[in-house]
Symmetry: C2
Subunit: 237 residues, 2 copies
């Protein structure tokens, strides 16, 4: 089996720094975790908050702490650091090779969408962002890794795109159409959702947007682990 994860990420129009932070980290007992946080507001202040949350989570995961405990710890840490005045959303998506499961940890009102056997499930149970009080709990979903799963998670920039013009995107509907069409790669899924959102904002996104897509395929693997990063670069940024 092969697991592919793709990320597409853009900044709010005319800001050089994204308030979203995403890191992918190897788990100490095998597997990987994708950690995505979105700091309240945008620009430099939001970036500081989302970096603080992601750093805390990845350092705990690196020590072998379970995802849910890491999310709680990051919430308490943010609450203490910023006196409960600043919030951040957090998503952790883990492939755990000890339990052979997919673990989805959400502190984000935006849902995570899971497609299996042509059926879309919306993981949309109530979920509170981190940092605003002392009793924040993550919403956790765990399931065995099977071939043929597609999972999409995102920050709220995707949901709010098009608000200015009154034409918002129905993420589930857009994804359903994509999956019916052909067999898109995770990068094609992430790019397509991001592009749809950007078009709704006339290519001037009104918020930072990050989209993560994961796909499992039954194709036999060649045993090689691969990673690519593509980074826009303009000197003087």
């Amino acid at each position: 089996m092969n697991i592919q994860i793709a990320v597409s990420k853009t900044n709010k129009y005319a800001t050089s720094e994204s308030g979203d932070t995403l890191e992918v980290i190897e788990r100490p007992n095998g597997g990987v975790s994708v950690v995505l946080a979105d700091g309240q507001t945008s620009g430099r202040g939001a970036k500081a908050v989302s970096i603080l949350v992601v750093r805390k989570v990845i350092s705990l995961l690196a020590d072998g702490v379970r995802d849910g405990a890491a999310a709680r710890a990051a919430s308490d840490y943010l609450f203490t650091e910023r006196k409960g005045k600043v919030s951040a959303t957090l998503n952790i998506l883990s492939i755990d090779l000890v339990t052979n499961t997919l673990v989805i940890t959400r502190n984000n009102p935006a849902p995570v969408i899971l497609a299996r056997k042509g059926k879309l499930d919306c993981l949309a149970s109530e979920s509170t962002p981190l940092g605003t009080n002392r009793n924040i709990r993550p919403s956790i979903t765990e399931m065995p890794v099977e071939a043929g799963m597609t999972l999409v998670m995102y920050t709220d920039g995707l949901v709010h795109a098009g608000e200015r013009s009154g034409h918002q995107m129905d993420v589930c509907e857009t994804l359903q159409a994509l999956l019916e069409d052909e067999d898109p790669s995770p990068q094609a899924i992430a790019d397509s959702l991001l592009n749809t959102a950007m078009r709704l904002d006339d290519n001037r996104p009104s918020d930072d947007i990050s989209v993560v897509a994961l796909k499992t395929t039954a194709a036999e693997s060649d045993g090689v682990r691969r990673m690519t990063v593509s980074l826009p670069f303009s000197p003087g940024d």
Copy 2:
């Protein structure tokens, strides 16, 4: 301009854990760093060492510490933890958006290869692995980011491939042929070098192998940052 980084990574034959650890991390002031360590020997022990080194380096880089200082600190840390008895190689490849430079930090006898304007340079100054004494210094090369650069770095598994059969690869020559052929993507470069090495070992690599390729292109960027991870998965690993 656009910067693309690709990684291909495989384990020594019949070991489930790679002694090489690689992480890509966002730099706090902009840009990314690729941190690659290879722990002495192979399997679980080597993994513990390379994880320890990479974790230390990424946590320091996340705090804004410069690459060279992070490498020295990781060396002292490994020396202290393992009483000077265990060594690890380390490579850090950074795109620094504050200075708009590419920074290559080496504590690895294996060279880093840089191609510019059809000319291959081998960054092969003497370089000592971390952890064996108190005065380890990294070898650092810094240069402005320009379009048309290709850079390849790797762990020694690539160099030692084929030793059993007496047919080792000349990495520079193989890369030169690749670059003359067409305009290969960084993933094609990394895959091609890895595949050549694996063939020399009859697809039973005698060591962990990691290859990182970076390429800068003048193509106008769409402002979207992308990342993909492809992970072999066999339940029961």
